[in-house]
């Protein structure tokens, strides 16, 4: 069964995807050409990794390492 997920790249945009059974965060990001190197990965707000399996309705968020305060 295909699953519906959203990928939010903070500071950029939110995209929606259908993924196949067994697909992980990493395989989806590879497929859509997003390199998460150095960014925090979250699934539904919870710290995750490339190996985290995707479920229907998941929101994958990529959080950049920001440092400003000015």
């Amino acid at each position: 069964m295909r699953k519906f997920v959203k990928v939010a790249r903070l500071g950029d945009q939110v995209k929606e995807f259908f993924v196949e059974e067994g697909q992980t965060v990493g395989s989806l990001l590879d497929e859509v050409g997003i390199d998460p190197e150095g960014w925090d990965l979250r699934v539904n707000g919870v710290p995750s990794s490339r190996e985290t399996p995707l479920e229907d309705g998941d929101i994958v968020t990529l959080v950049p390492p920001i440092k400003g305060g000015i």
Partner: protein, 220 residues
């Protein structure tokens, strides 16, 4: 000085709940200026602010200063604003925090480098006088707010996992670093964390928001 009537917020937080709080705000730019104002308007009366910068023209759009503050030390300008907007007095220290100053109570970090954050963290970590540490980061339309009790070993371990170097951080272009609605949102969220702490309510150790994608992540 006139008496302020806090009637409209008494069932949210009362001045009595905040009376014993001492809050130190380090850095009063885009994060620290709206935060200090929110804390003072909320009713906190023991606030110390550190910063050695002066108000410059590029600060006016995204920091809580006005045109007559140009060229004035930010801490002095902020003290005047707090007096005017909140009928309160803050202790303005026109100096850069270098780790030698004593910290206590609630410490809010609004600095703009990871190096400065690490310096503050060194002064805060396991410091028995510091009850709560609230550290905010801003980049374009994104903000991250971390809240930890420096005496909590698990909190300390978690917070340190959020630190990275300035080189590892994403450096937004000079023209995409700050915007007023993000600053106001950070001020509101930091003040809310402090209110939760004062009321012994559950505060979030991590709040991340992005105005660009309208994403919000909250972890307790």
């Amino acid at each position: 000085m006139i008496d302020i009537d806090f009637w409209r917020q008494l069932d949210i937080v009362s001045p009595e709940d905040l009376a014993s709080l001492r809050v130190t705000v380090i850095g009063v730019g885009g994060i620290g200026s709206p935060t200090t104002l929110a804390l003072a308007k909320m009713g906190i009366r023991n606030i110390i602010v550190y910063d050695d910068d002066k108000v410059e023209p590029h600060n006016l759009p995204n920091q809580f200063y006005k045109k007559t503050d140009l060229g004035v030390l930010k801490v002095c300008a902020l003290a005047n604003l707090v007096d005017e907007f909140a009928n309160a007095t803050i202790e303005a220290r026109a100096e850069r925090f270098d780790g030698s100053q004593e910290l206590s109570g609630v410490v809010v970090s609004g600095v703009d480098t990871m190096e400065a954050r690490k310096l503050i963290w060194t002064a805060v970590k396991f410091n028995p006088a510091v009850q709560l540490y609230v550290e905010a980061r801003m980049g374009a339309e994104i903000a991250r707010i971390h809240t930890v009790q420096p005496s909590d070993i698990f909190g300390v371990k978690w917070y340190e996992s959020t630190l990275y170097t300035d080189e590892e951080a994403v450096q937004a272009p000079c023209t995409a670093r700050a915007i007023i609605y993000c600053s106001l949102m950070i001020g509101a969220l930091v003040a809310n964390q402090v209110k939760k702490f004062a009321n012994a309510e559950a505060w979030a150790r991590e709040v991340i928001f992005d105005m660009m994608t309208l994403s919000l992540i909250v972890n307790y």
